[in-house]
Amino acid sequence: MSDSCGAPTQTASLPATVDLANEAVIQGTVVREGAPVPGAYARLLDATGEFTGEVVTSDEGVFRFFAAPGDWTIRVLAPGGVSIDSQVTAETGEVAKLEVAI
């Protein structure tokens, strides 16, 4: 059990302690002109637009959520007023991947 609710440092591969069979993972990369963007904010919104979670992208531009199966929106925020929404569907046992260009 995690003893905090804070967003962990985002890594390129799934943490070894995670059993993917039980998780519906959404993972993506934020890029600008093809290069990864660290330090962007990725927000997970549920099917009704409700905020569910937020992480900061890693040095590789990676973000990851452990969601529930279903439809979700990823909103990426970055300096300069950037706010971009992308739709994604999560399934248990799968990693739903996406790339967000800003």
Binding site: M1, S2, D3, S4, C5, G6, A7, P8, T9, P15, T17, V18, D19, N22, E23, G39, Y41, R43, L44, D46, E50, F51, T52, G53, E54, V55, V56, R64, F65, F66, A67, A68, R75, L77, A78, P79, G80, S83
Partner: protein, 279 residues
């Protein structure tokens, strides 16, 4: 109490960075953010290793808190400006904690680290050195801290505000969606609780919504603002954010944060649990 008594914006912080008697404190769980860059002059407090007792599940005691603030070079009459990542969760938690131990002159940077970064404001790596002080704390002010028996008694009598995400509230998820979901305790929420996720009190950039918006938010969700209120989440830091909105911004007199929150309540033997939407 007005908003400016408890909250400052990024422009204010920028203008007062070098004021004597103003101490910026970054509070995070992941303190590597501070190492990569922080607001100039800010000292750091590690939420996990410096504010929690290393053995028991509780806070550091009064002496531990005095020692911590003395080591950080903070004096009793300093104006402390708290900020941090995760939409200021840990900074709001520290704010509540500083109030608990009687430090009155403390404010939050509205929007925290995120707003500062999204504004492209300066972050530095240089760690300030502040001379040690002789900080004196007060006994804990338990009028703002709720314990488990009080929470069970509050069912159907006081407002219970569950600030977790809707899926955690209904029992579908046991932790926020950026964390793996394997957990020991039961899912669900405390009967009669209203679900008003902490995030509804904040804008996308992490700043708090206006007083009018906040009042409408809680009233529309069925919270009777004339009654005592207990806020909880999973471990008490997201609910510190909502405690701040209710007690400090809206100025409600009787609001407590239940820091045991769901990881305690959902593990108690025999207490009632409700599943699904709010009843």
């Amino acid at each position: 109490m007005s908003r400016s008594d408890v909250l400052v914006d990024a422009d204010w912080v920028q203008a007062h960075l070098d004021d004597p008697g103003v101490v910026l404190v970054e509070v995070d769980e992941d303190t590597s953010a501070y190492e990569k860059g922080h607001i100039r002059g800010a000292v750091r407090i590690d939420w996990k290793t410096e504010l929690q007792d290393p053995v028991r599940r509780d806070f550091v005691d009064k002496t531990g808190f005095q020692n911590l603030l003395s080591e950080k070079g903070i004096a009793g009459d300093d104006l402390i400006i708290l900020y941090g990542g995760n939409n200021n969760w840990f900074a709001a938690y520290a704010y509540w904690y500083f109030r608990l131990y009687g430090h009155q002159n403390v404010k939050l940077l509205d929007g925290g680290r995120k707003k500062w970064e999204l504004d492209s404001r300066e972050l530095v790596e240089a760690v300030p050195s502040r001379p040690k002080t002789d900080y004196v704390a007060q006994e804990q002010d338990l009028s703002i801290r709720a314990f488990r028996d009080e929470v069970v008694e509050a069912i159907s009598t006081k407002n219970l505000v569950d600030v977790r995400s809707p899926d955690e509230f209904s029992g579908k998820l046991l932790a926020p969606a950026h964390l793996p979901q394997e957990q020991a305790q039961r899912g669900g929420h405390i009967p009669t609780a209203r679900n008003i996720p902490w995030s509804k009190a904040a804008n996308d950039d992490g700043t708090f919504k206006s007083d009018d918006e906040l009042q409408e938010l809680y009233e529309e969700a069925g919270v009777d603002l004339s009654k005592p209120t207990i806020a909880y989440c999973r471990i008490g830091e997201r609910s510190s954010h909502t405690w701040f909105a209710l007690h400090e911004l809206l100025g409600l007199p009787d609001v407590k944060n239940y820091d045991g929150s769901w990881t305690e309540y959902g593990s108690l033997v025999g207490v009632p649990i409700e599943l699904g939407d709010a009843k």
